[in-house]
């Protein structure tokens, strides 16, 4: 049965998660890059995935999208609402039918994600036509312009005829967003969508992303290393380090009562207003190790102030999927 028919059999149900990722593990040549990543995304829910570079955030996004580079294998399950088969097990044909239609993605660098030889209006129209959302060429052009207007691009008719290099970084990123939202996806994944943008442009982009997913009740997975940005956009957070989710929880709780020492360190280092008597910022000692060089057991133990013998064994997850921590010595918090 095709993915289409499956989707038709499951009408949109607000109580069912749009995306369920369970025990997602990605390995390459003996290195484990992601291990047991589990989370879910409700319709209209905004979830943030935070962590420093090398923690496995982008890899998680690529695995969900089915865009892993060659040589990397994913195990576990990725379930999209209405698609009976696990996304990790369906063929490339079906998967490309879902990408751009049910799964939208905005990448960090729009210059590499957009086709440099095609006018941006045609690129947006292509997304509509390729998935059969709109059959008529003329219609697709009209719709594309409306989508460009939705992301508040000035004079969409003119912008549509431009090539990517003729646009500014912020404008390109808006085109990316228009493409990702074109078919009203169930899931929108944004991977560092504003990292390369100026703050005022970033603010506009964040607003458009939030409005875009709210209009379509899409689930949002927002990936960033910038804690204040994620905290502003998302209602729930996942903290990632060394290819593992080390803590998860509602944004406010996680920020006010972090349990994992990495979350605490990240929070302390992000807040430039909190300094000690000498005006020094709190830091996390050391640096993120390169891929495959994380310690065994708890991945954070070599940088952790509380690390000891017990930490040579992975602590396991305590709490629920959406609210829990993986640590032997969590801070006095909500539970565990």
């Amino acid at each position: 049965m095709s993915a289409d028919a499956l989707a038709a059999a499951h009408p949109k149900d607000p109580t069912v998660s749009v995306l369920e990722v369970r025990d997602l593990t990605v390995v390459t040549g003996g290195h484990t890059l992601l291990e047991d990543v589990t989370f879910s995304l409700g319709p209209g829910e905004r979830v943030g995935l935070i962590g420093e570079s090398g923690s496995g955030k982008s890899l998680t996004a690529l695995a969900v999208m089915g865009l892993l580079p060659e040589g990397l294998t994913a195990t576990g399950t990725v379930q999209l609402r209405g698609v009976e088969t696990d996304l990790l097990r369906i063929g490339e044909r079906e998967r490309s039918g879902l990408r751009g239609r049910r799964l939208g993605m905005v990448f960090q660098e729009p210059m590499t994600a957009l086709n440099p030889l095609m006018r941006v209006g045609n690129q947006v129209a292509e997304v509509l036509r390729i998935h059969g959302t709109v059959d008529d060429r003329e219609d697709a052009t009209q719709r594309a312009q409306r989508l460009l207007a939705d992301v508040e691009l000035p004079d969409p008719g003119r912008i549509a005829r431009r090539y990517p290099h003729q646009l500014s970084g912020g404008q390109r990123q808006r085109v990316m967003l228009a493409m990702a939202l074109a078919n009203g996806p169930d899931v929108l994944i944004c991977d560092e969508p504003t990292t390369a943008l100026d703050v005022t442009v970033q603010a506009q982009m964040l607003q458009l992303i939030a409005a875009g997913v709210a209009d379509r009740t899409s689930g949002l997975l927002f990936i960033s290393h910038d804690l204040p940005v994620v905290a502003t956009v998302c209602e729930r957070l996942l903290v990632m380090y060394g290819g593992r989710i080390v803590e998860a929880g509602p944004t406010e709780e996680l920020l006010t009562r972090p349990r994992h020492p990495y979350t605490e360190g990240l929070l302390a280092a992000s807040d430039l207003e909190a300094v000690d008597d000498q005006g020094r910022l709190p830091t996390i000692p050391g640096a993120v190790p390169p891929d495959g060089r994380f310690p065994s057991g708890c991945v954070f133990r070599n940088r952790c102030p509380r690390g000891d013998e017990a930490c040579t064994v992975w602590p396991g997850w305590s709490g629920s999927d959406g609210d829990g921590v993986a640590c032997w010595y969590p801070s006095e918090g909500r539970h565990g």
Partner: protein, 295 residues
Amino acid sequence: MAEPEVIYDVRDLVCRFRQPRTSLRHRTPPLTAVDGVDLQVTAGQRFGLVGESGSGKSTLLRCLAALQQPTSGSVRFRGQELAGRRDRQLRFLRRDVQVVFQDPMASLDPRMRVRELIAEPLVAQRASGTHERVDELLDAVGLPRGSASRYPHQFSGGQRQRIAIARALAVRPSVLLADEPVSALDVSVRAQILNLLQDLVERFHLTLVFVAHDLAVVRHVCDTVAVMRTGQLVEHGSAEEIATAPQHPYTQALVAAVPTLRRALHGATPSSLLRDVPSEATPDAAARPDRPEPS
């Protein structure tokens, strides 16, 4: 009380660049990156220069370092005019002013060992006793002495920035110019480098000129801040004033647009970051295409 010594005195500085033609019929007008800037930096000051991409902040810094000749106007360093001087007449400046750039991978020669990298400015100044000096500098920036025999690619981003800082300090400068030194770093490492910079500035009594797009970072590091937009200084004052009570509408929009943890906890949403920027040129429209955004 004696007035502090004026290190930099910049008057009506203008920097224009020719742009390539985009049309057969019309010339492209020159781009004015710095457009009539006046500023003073006094000894011991930590001077922050904030602005978005394309605001001209890096060009201004390059003029201070005499890496860029201004089109017109004057840059005086301790009373000596830099504009119009040739490289060989700038020896005195190279001994006293050093620069740390954003991307240490691009500013450190990948074929040189750390010892050679740090000692290179000393060799250029024909100083002796470089071996001991390199060890001293490695200690100062918190790298093990054994690092001296390794190559830059063997280090992480934060460690490379430490090497770049050690190299800058080698000639015992009195002024350190830093162009976005922490924007390419992870937050936990960013805090380490900011602490290091602060320690070094205090220990060696440096005057710091710090360029960044991130107002929060500048506020933490600097005592005085100037805000730049399309080549001009729109506001200038103490870091505290600019961050808490900005006067110019552009600075207000800039301050409002920075997401902070505190505001997020008080229920800030993406729409509360938006504040109407006076729209004679919104940043998005002002941003020049063809030009890579900073990462």
